[in-house]
Amino acid sequence: MKPFLRAAFLVAVMGALGIVFAAPLLFMFASSFKHDDAIFANLASWSAFIPDAGWSLANYAAIVERSNLPLFLLNSTLIAACVVVGGVLVNSMLAFALSRMRWRGRRAVLAMVVALMIVPFEVIAIPLLSLVARLPWPGIEQGALTWHIGWFNSLHVQIIPFLANAFCVFLFYQFFRDIPRELDEAARMDGAGPWTLFFRIILPNSRPVIATAAIVLFIAAWNQYLWPIMVVQGEAARPVQPGIQQFFGRSNSWGQIMAYASVVTLPVLAVFLAFQRQFVASVAGSGIKG
């Protein structure tokens, strides 16, 4: 009886805490289906967390009509996709050069990568702003190549600076270091060059770390806020986080804002639920290595 009581007590505590942690998100999803009057009617009861009988998709229809949400979603999807694919590629390649090739300055570069991991983005945001204002970007005008100065109001300004990521390089480096060298030596014996070795042997054996890096890069890219509010003024290149912040400042319909918040949150929540195992493993790994 006693172990049973203990288990019941623990489940009760877990459940109570679960309510605290889930409440704001449930409130968000539930309210997104409600008319504003219905939201305010039952704030202090359980029904605040479940859609009411009069639920509808009216809020979702309204935000699509009243804002450029589909465009912002497309922008964020493109940005996140490019950062994930490009980031996994360049970071794993540098890690490969660090763990599998011999070259002068290798140790210094490794030390630099480790040192750069602690530089918060907030420190370089303002000088980076000044830098991208001066960078050229190619364009075609009347059939001729022209250079346009300044990267503002574009998607690439939200992608290119975030491809290389010191933390991801380090993740890949740690993982590659533990792949047995017999594998590559066998391939080298068969005459494989570094490219074959990398794409045929190393990468296919690195699925867990690729998943981890992809998740880290995806979440960071999707949740970007400080950088886009600095470099994107118009709506054409705006991603979802500044989009919802702006909608929040402009709209006074709680239901619509909650619908907007739900749409912005669902993709990340879906990625999380789909890759939960890798997620847990990646966080655990980041902590133990410290």
Partner: protein, 356 residues
Amino acid sequence: MKTLPGRDHPLAIAGFAGPALLLLGLFMLVPLLFAAAATFTDHRLVSPEPTRYVGLENYARLLALQVVEVEPLRDAAGAALRDEDGIRFPTWRQTRRAHPGVAQYRPAWQVQVGERRFVLAATDPLFYRSLINTFLFALLVLPLQCGAALGLALLVNQRIAGRVFFRTVYFAPVVTSMVVASIVWSFMLNTDRGMINELLRAVTGDPNVGPDWLGEPRYALPAIAIMSAWQGAGFQMLVFLAGLQSISPELYEAATLMGANAWQRFVHVTLPGLRNTIVFVLVSTLLLAFGLFTQVDVMTQGGALDSTTTVVYHAVRTGFRQQDIGYGSTIAMVFFGIVLLVAVLQRVLLARGDNA
């Protein structure tokens, strides 16, 4: 360890290492060096004037600080004047006239000792306010978030039904973006219609309770701290969970055999086993707390009388909104200095643990 296979072609090495190194150099090293250099200039984002070298002017403007002692207003007999708020003091304008050295200074903080008031006056009082707010926020969020994370980790580490489900629930806020979390909590903290005040009113039965959480200086920062802890605790929970699972079960068995109760096992087995994890969690939470920006930008814009202005918020306001890159970079560099101090502290703490 075996030797590395034969040398690769230099072009192949460049092909592998080049792209990421180029990007890291251009978008991290260059901005970092540029920021350090910009602190000595009056560089602006867009300006018809050429950038000038100004020496340590930015640092002087940012850091200049004086303690000014202010005497109370006195009547003819020399006794301090009082009103319902206590002792009456002259206004800052009057004080400034009496102290010619502080013409450019404005009060950032003040403390009263007996009949005297000490004013911390700065040329950029908002910077000191933001520095104090940032440390205050860290002080609030650190025990809250790390304590919650450790508690949750201990819970979901128990062998009971539903632990995977609850682990997912506790982690869900982490994948919610800070902007969305801030917006949802703004609604929950709303004075008249917010869920939290509605609950307070329902529990106390008093229809008049319910503070203006984000509008009152003494509540705004704690409210943001609670919201931030809610959003972030799930991440540290997973880190703690990994730490807990790396502690050998034999240690617990041995402790139990020696007659240790649950609390003694926690203090003598769990806590020492988690030492490095605790250092890592504390340091990473501290660094996140120092970077506080999004919650403030969405929920209060630094407001309730500057009670939520933080160092990063101040840097963005001057560097970006006022386009003063030189001064904004100076704030960013001071912020970076604090981050480096924390990193060094982490090294020291971990090194000491290894020697013990």
